[in-house]
Symmetry: C2
Subunit: 551 residues, 2 copies
Amino acid sequence: MREIVSVALGDRPAELAVCNVSLFDPFTGEWIATSFAVHRGIVAGLGEYEASHTIDLHGARVVPGLIDSHVHIESSLLCPQEFGRLVLPHGTTTVVADPHEIANVAGTAGLDWMLAQRRQTPLDIFYMAPSCVPATPLDLGGAVLTADDLARYVGTDGILGLAEMMNVPGVLSGDPGITKKLSLFSLIDGHAPLLSGKELNAYICAGIQSDHECTVAEEACEKLRKGMYLMVREGSTEKNIETLASVVDWRSAPRCSLATDDRHLDILAESGHIDDCIRKAVSAGIDLESALRMATLSAADRFALSDRGAVAPGRIADFCVLAPGDSFLVERTFKRGVEISALPYCPPEPITVPVACAPLKQPDLRIDGSGAARVIGLVEGQIITAALEIDVDGARIPDFERDILKCVVCDRYRASGSGVALVHGFGLQKGAIAQSISHDAHNIVCVGTSDTDIIAAVSSVAGCGGGIAAVCGEQSVLLPLNCGGLMSSEPCEEVTRRFSEMKKFASDFGGIDDPLMYLSFLALTVIPHLRVTERGLFDVSLFQDVPLFLS
Amino acid sequence: MREIVSVALGDRPAELAVCNVSLFDPFTGEWIATSFAVHRGIVAGLGEYEASHTIDLHGARVVPGLIDSHVHIESSLLCPQEFGRLVLPHGTTTVVADPHEIANVAGTAGLDWMLAQRRQTPLDIFYMAPSCVPATPLDLGGAVLTADDLARYVGTDGILGLAEMMNVPGVLSGDPGITKKLSLFSLIDGHAPLLSGKELNAYICAGIQSDHECTVAEEACEKLRKGMYLMVREGSTEKNIETLASVVDWRSAPRCSLATDDRHLDILAESGHIDDCIRKAVSAGIDLESALRMATLSAADRFALSDRGAVAPGRIADFCVLAPGDSFLVERTFKRGVEISALPYCPPEPITVPVACAPLKQPDLRIDGSGAARVIGLVEGQIITAALEIDVDGARIPDFERDILKCVVCDRYRASGSGVALVHGFGLQKGAIAQSISHDAHNIVCVGTSDTDIIAAVSSVAGCGGGIAAVCGEQSVLLPLNCGGLMSSEPCEEVTRRFSEMKKFASDFGGIDDPLMYLSFLALTVIPHLRVTERGLFDVSLFQDVPLFLS
């Protein structure tokens, strides 16, 4: 402490002086014409300072480092350090992540790996301990995290609290395991889409403090008024900024932050991260200063990170220099006072999770019988599915005319076998796509136009320890995700390139945009109505397995 | 937790339903037409609820319980529980207090007594551990609190952090004792009047987070911009709301709170407490909602008191019902869901600090010599004094014509004797007043027009274990302050009555308004220029004792 105080006093030179900036001050919402000094990664003071190194920014706008208040790093397909390498140039200097996906695959070993990985990037990654692994007893993946498992992480460096509590019924009914988990942590994030009225009151009384699932302005208003922190989300598919913009002003901005939740690497690379959210917020009518408040101090405050969120004395020197002009474009990012430019790729140690998948064979995919059948119906732009009833002949699938394809889920943890179902809506004209990203259990899920391609695609994914495969006859593209079948340890540029190649190849199969996204939710047994699991067809409303044919 | 969740769900009746209110919501700044339920002192939920007891408020305005973010309870002359009895009806439900005065008198025994006292009132009293006891090595009172002494209080229930760090030079020079004190606590309040620029940067880098000493708008702006929490103070004598009002808007309100610092019991009784500050804030041009934000959620947030600051699910049910009309008048106060009305007086156990005062005798007051003398000059409305030089004849004091009186300080801790000096500005025409409230050492200080009255007044104060005495010949009024000579354990109504009687009696002596206030700062060796101590005259600029006569 002594050293920074001496530097602040001007008694000894700072390491860095940043001069002539227009600095965004989130405490007052103003842009201040000033300079500032940085020493050992900390802001020593605002004003003119002598320094070993001086950068004159000639009046450029400088904003505090941006914060993502809720993100699943796994959704980027990148391991944490490559995620850092991708988002740092976009101005993100801190993220609060929920390692829920890898926890479903690898349990505490997954959490420990994520904790080790956070030390391999200049990006500050904090974690919330996953609260709901598995999501339901029926959505069992590679691990169960009990309250006792989570208790190990209380006070662990890098763990801030309990991640999104999705088990609303468990909270409201006082489930002992949930209650114990809630009692372990003081910071608790929520996940309560459309919860309102008395149930919302009860959910908050149970200790849950935030929500990132608001999709309606009235919902967001109610949650704010009842004291929840509102994380306004803009992910790859879940885009809420435009709808919620009317809720944010300077009165509510201290209680709001920005979050991406799930954002694929290609979107991160092309559109950006929290910088993109800020641009979208401004387009949606939120004033820039309120958006910046959300992305900096408000997010820091929500997580009691009093060492950041502003360029101010004693705080970590995380800041971004904006490009000239009115638009919000991050030109340079400084993390702890050091400019992030062309971070080198350092191969991470992947976390290997053995894939124990019974080899898929033609008979596993056979559908015996014909008549009225239950068919999973995709719903455009949604992760819910429709429960369709269509007359089919099991021997005549694929039915291209009526867009009915086979989908299959293979247990990748216990080799217990596979389940097959029918799906309408993918519109594939050829080939098959398979992946080990399949919320929340992350078994291998596949949709395809021929048994051969399905078997080949599943086999490719299983064979490389998890990943994404698109197969069409002799041709195939494989993106191995060598970290638990969810993330790649390859360089972000390489993964982005291969992921784009994969998408391009699969787009030749015809059908809907972004089939991978729909595929990743096909086995999620908590969202209505019909799903497919390793046991076969599952009716979410009945919450039980159901036969494919109605009679 | 289970019970409040059930009540929130509506599965079992609440203890109390408060219906038809216009509720101030500090999260959004809105007034919401709603009802709410309270159970076991906690807000179960907003909305309509069944309850054992229902109060229909017919649309009345309800605001969260008010919070004083920095107060010295001792300045009220009341012990904590009587302070609570006085301020609760004004809507105050939480105070963050610095027991600095009693600590100067009684050290850790004083802190322990204050901690015990907080359990005797429904008012939530939190303490910050006094950082500067004594204020300087030369202002030695009854105790020294070292970092080791304070370490005992880390984690103690009711202790939130370190109180106002007044020793700015000690902070900036890295004094080891100060540095150790700063390292003990994570919440640290500041006290840095007019500190700015690099020195302010350094003070903040040392870990100090707030300030309540701003007297100029520019000063407040700079402190806010640099990340300090701004406590806008309105005490008995230090009144800053009007000057600082321009700094507060909805952008800065989350970083600002209201504080009274030092407020006498008569002002509390007549004008009010934080309710009075809110009225003054509105008069000064701050919008009511920003003022309310400051007095509720912002203050709670500054001290990480996430269980209060709003009437919202899961939070403590502290709230006030306002009188009809536009003005801000608290009509009813509810603490933890229970209406505070006519709290009974329960005699507190006083803290007795023996007064070890050498009996004051006529020779002690003799001033031998004549010629040019150093005379303490009062400055109207200020606690600084002027260093006057006046030709005097020691045998001819009092000099009513030129308003020169004797003042004396008697060591009340070690019976080391007394010091006498001359003072200009009190204007007393007769009598003497003495008190054991004398910042920060709290020896007995007296000013008077005759040696006989001075001796009688000091003797009265010493004889009753500390207090305030006004003596004029045969007539006298004594207000014993049986708790360390600073506070009374009598009922607040009785103390108010006797204090007013005392002031009225002393006002007959002629002279300035509020002589007690000026008297209480006459021995404060940290404020320029001339002071009187138990050793005699003290020159603050030279920081040493000086003789009364110049030659």
